[in-house]
Symmetry: D2
Subunit: 121 residues, 4 copies
């Protein structure tokens, strides 16, 4: 997934504001849903929520840069899945994180429904 | 209402990203609700929505600045209200706008309910 | 220019937060620069800044929607240009605005340099 | 440091968009500078940059909530400092993270200057 850096993404330091890398990763996760004709929430108050993020800020990006987000599954359990998401600028990795997503219905963790198992592969 | 400019508000130009002045004005409108013990939506799918904005960008603000938002009612009609909101930095006006808010229930304009009439005064 | 609506763009009302339409328009203006191999600022402290916006919020967009931004020049003067930018969702216009951009160098309005005249056409 | 949740902070799930907790923590770090009459960057292209974040999302916040951010130093080394920042809603912790800040000048890690040592205590 390709992402362009706009003014709104940068800060007074002239580079991308650090939390925006996490936003880019969320966009990439949502695009996996859209690409499969789904939305990230299925209307009955359930969906994946972020429970843990471990992120490394390795480089920087600036206005006009074109970035690429890559996602892979590290581990899938009954009620959660751990992804590794990395952001590249011209093949150079500038950010990576592992993110744990818990499947939740009505605010409580539940087993991932069958149709969403292995969803992020 | 006082608002501090943080990194997230600035862009690579070193100053506040232009749409953030509109955000600050929205915060000020919401604070009017919170100050009266209400929330901007009352749970039955109704509330004020922005239908028109006419904004002048008169100056600039930068990281760490403390801004002040002032709001006054220009006009109130059956289903809408027009506010003037201005942003000051050290007494100097750097932004103003008139914003038209329409009262909507289930996606359709409705008469402003009695308890919300003259609400923004 | 196509723009996807992500979680970050929506608010608790379930729809796109109103100021984000202005962000989408700014992205479209920046893309005009990128498409021509330029960046919106040319490094000598000059560029176009927003001085006035008159915006109509005509409809709404929600998570996953694919929007399209169209831009045209309404008027070009010595030191400024007025654009009309419209946002469509499935051919239906949900937002439009006229935006006045002033060319500025070192914080002061200047004549638009020759290479940026008729730039947005 | 107290932070109000506004519309802009929420998403279509009705709660605070996950990356905004990181923004709140950044605001709190900047306020430590402002409270001491400084800005987070001192003008000679130097400052603290985020190099690592390990974050736990423990609860949720919604429109109008008043949150509190608390920060403490976990460890300080020659060129970096590790903070623990926690966000509370009505005394209940809803988020915490450890964040590693590296002192950088001209893009390269440097020893923290004397006047910024023990700065976050």
């Amino acid at each position: 997934m390709k992402i362009r850096v706009y003014y709104e993404d940068t800060d007074a330091g002239g580079i991308v504001y650090h939390t925006n890398y996490l936003k880019y990763c969320e966009r990439a996760r949502s695009e996996i849903f859209f690409a499969k004709g789904k939305t990230p929430t299925d209307g009955d108050n359930s969906g994946f929520v972020v429970s843990h993020i471990d992120a490394n800020f390795l480089g920087m990006a600036k206005l006009g840069d074109m970035l690429e987000v890559k996602s892979e599954v590290l581990q899938e359990k009954k009620a959660s899945v751990v992804l590794k998401q990395s952001i590249f600028k011209d093949k150079k990795k500038i950010f990576d994180m592992s993110v744990t997503l818990v499947f939740v219905r009505d605010g409580r963790p539940r087993a991932i429904p069958e149709e969403l198992q292995n969803f992020f592969n």
